[in-house]
């Protein structure tokens, strides 16, 4: 017996030699929605859009409809899918975004099939496209709103030599971040951190550049890298190699071992305990058997972009596995710097010290920003 089914139907109606109307219908066990999208087929640009709900889940779902208009002007080029997911998926509803992509890609496919017909009409009518100026559509991206508890996870009067935020992102090295590296450093200094690690996505910071930043700010800055693998995101320290694209975790392990670096599983259960997922019955016993944990040296058990429950679950997993635990803010904006960090028992002066300390478990994750009485 089927447990879930989603059906989508898109029909493409040719309105004139420049324009098609895509009518999309999505129906599944949860939602039923419809939309009409008017598309300039020469420029692959959305000219108009409307939609309606037939079935929904919350009383407020209807608020999504006016936001559909924000798709007007978007063109099917570059990161179109990503833009639709951000603009429509987050401002309106991700299911409308899904149906909009279906409508647009069907229209694009249709235009290729029907191009001879369009050309023929175009020649006959000598129609020129008007109003085809480029529209500079700036997506309005809603930011994550991570949970941050007032309840400390660790009642430990551990005396740390240093507290370092091991996980943060700067712009433009991480396009998802909104903060420059200088701003990150200034904030880290302001709130009293002893050092930070730059862990931009699949990005290797140049040693000299970072040394210049250290000198400029009089502050210890260490280099890391958050690498996307087939098993999720991994924080890597002590490796110079620039990894582009997705790498398998097993392959990454080989590279890191050669470099004498370490791998920390970043937020390994992010989203796994949110709505619906608890239905899968993910238990501690099952979680500790995940293959990823064979390849990592430590686990990030305090991450600033996940929920309390996810952090607590991750902490239990790390404890059962006997792996060192770390903390990091995963900051993408100034106000998040130092929300979580890692306390080190020994003085850390460079990346080698950092790698050794984590390998030996001479560190603990800590709720830093709250403890410092800062907001």
């Amino acid at each position: 017996m089927l447990k879930f089914m989603r059906n989508k139907i898109v029909g493409i109606e040719v309105k004139d030699s420049n324009t098609v109307l895509a009518h999309g219908f999505l129906d599944d066990n949860i939602y039923s929605i419809e939309m009409n999208v008017l598309i300039d087929i020469n420029h692959l640009e959305i000219r108009d859009i409307d939609g309606r709900w037939n079935r929904w889940t919350t009383t407020e779902c209807k608020r999504a409809i006016p936001f559909l208009k924000e798709a007007i002007g978007l063109r099917m080029e570059g990161d179109f899918s990503q833009t639709v997911r951000k603009v429509i998926g987050r401002r309106a509803c991700r299911h409308f975004a899904n149906l909009l992509l279906e409508c647009c890609y069907t229209a694009k496919q249709a235009s290729e099939v029907l191009k001879d017909k369009f050309k023929e009409k175009h020649d006959v009518n000598n129609v020129t496209s008007e109003n085809n100026s480029d529209k500079n559509v700036t997506p309005i991206i809603s930011a994550d709103m991570p949970d941050h508890s007032d309840t400390p996870f660790h009642d430990k009067p551990v005396s740390f030599s240093m507290v370092i935020d091991l996980h943060m992102h700067s712009f433009p090295a991480s396009p998802c971040s909104s903060v420059s590296v200088d701003q990150l450093i200034k904030e880290a200094k302001r709130i009293g951190l002893d050092a930070i690690c730059l862990t931009d996505h699949n990005y290797v910071w140049d040693r000299d550049t970072v040394e210049d930043l250290r000198q400029k700010h009089g502050f210890l800055i260490l280099r890391g890298n958050e690498i996307t693998t087939d098993q999720g995101d991994m924080l890597v320290f002590g490796m110079e190699k620039d990894i582009k694209g997705i790498i398998s975790l097993a392959e990454l392990r080989k590279e890191v071992l050669e470099s004498r670096g370490i791998i920390i599983a970043a937020h390994p259960f992010r989203g796994f305990l949110t709505v619906g997922i608890q239905q899968i019955g993910l238990t501690l016993e099952r979680a500790i058997k995940r293959p990823m944990f064979k390849y990592v040296d430590a686990i990030e058990t305090l991450n600033g972009s996940v929920t309390e429950n996810e952090n607590r679950f991750t902490e239990k997993v790390a404890e059962r596995l006997g792996l060192p635990k770390t903390g990091g803010s995963d900051a993408h904006e100034v106000s998040r710097v130092g929300v979580y960090a890692t306390g080190f028992i020994d003085k850390i002066k460079d990346e080698k010290d950092l790698v050794d300390a984590i390998k030996e478990g001479r560190c603990l994750p800590t709720v830093f920003r709250k403890h410092a009485g800062l907001r």
Binding site: F4, V113, A143, M145, D147, Q231
Partner: protein, 169 residues
Amino acid sequence: MYNILEFTRNRSTSVEQTDDKTLRSYCHLNDTIMEAYVEIAVTIPDLEIISVQGDVLRPHKKEFKESFEFLKRVIGTRIGPGILKIVNGLTEGIRHKQFAFMLEECCHAVILLFTKEDLLSSPRPDDEEESIIYHRQMVLDNIRLYNRCAAFAPGSRIVEGIIPKDKDI
């Protein structure tokens, strides 16, 4: 010719539980020029993709086979947050992006299955007050949902009074 559709597409994605430990998610595409499917098997509860297969039923072209080999790169990954980035990354360079999209649809359907199971115990939207209380608690429990869609954005009754901490709104 007016109002006669020139091009139509149907895409159906379904999930069935084949045994205690396995889900099968199947995406079938049928449009004016092509009929194809992509199918994945996923373990429960890890949601690890253990197999991927697919075929083009119409038109038959050998060139498509290469794309299905690309899709097999996702075997061993787990469905969950970030899966889209992983699927896109692992299938980068695929000649026929349609099949990568079908793979994404298979993954979405698995997530939606669990969402459905969860919603079965929630108040219906027409039970307005109960529904708002239920969803407000859901956002409070998973604050990452705040501002993730129009229903959970400022101005919605569901998130009225909720102010995420440590965050500029």
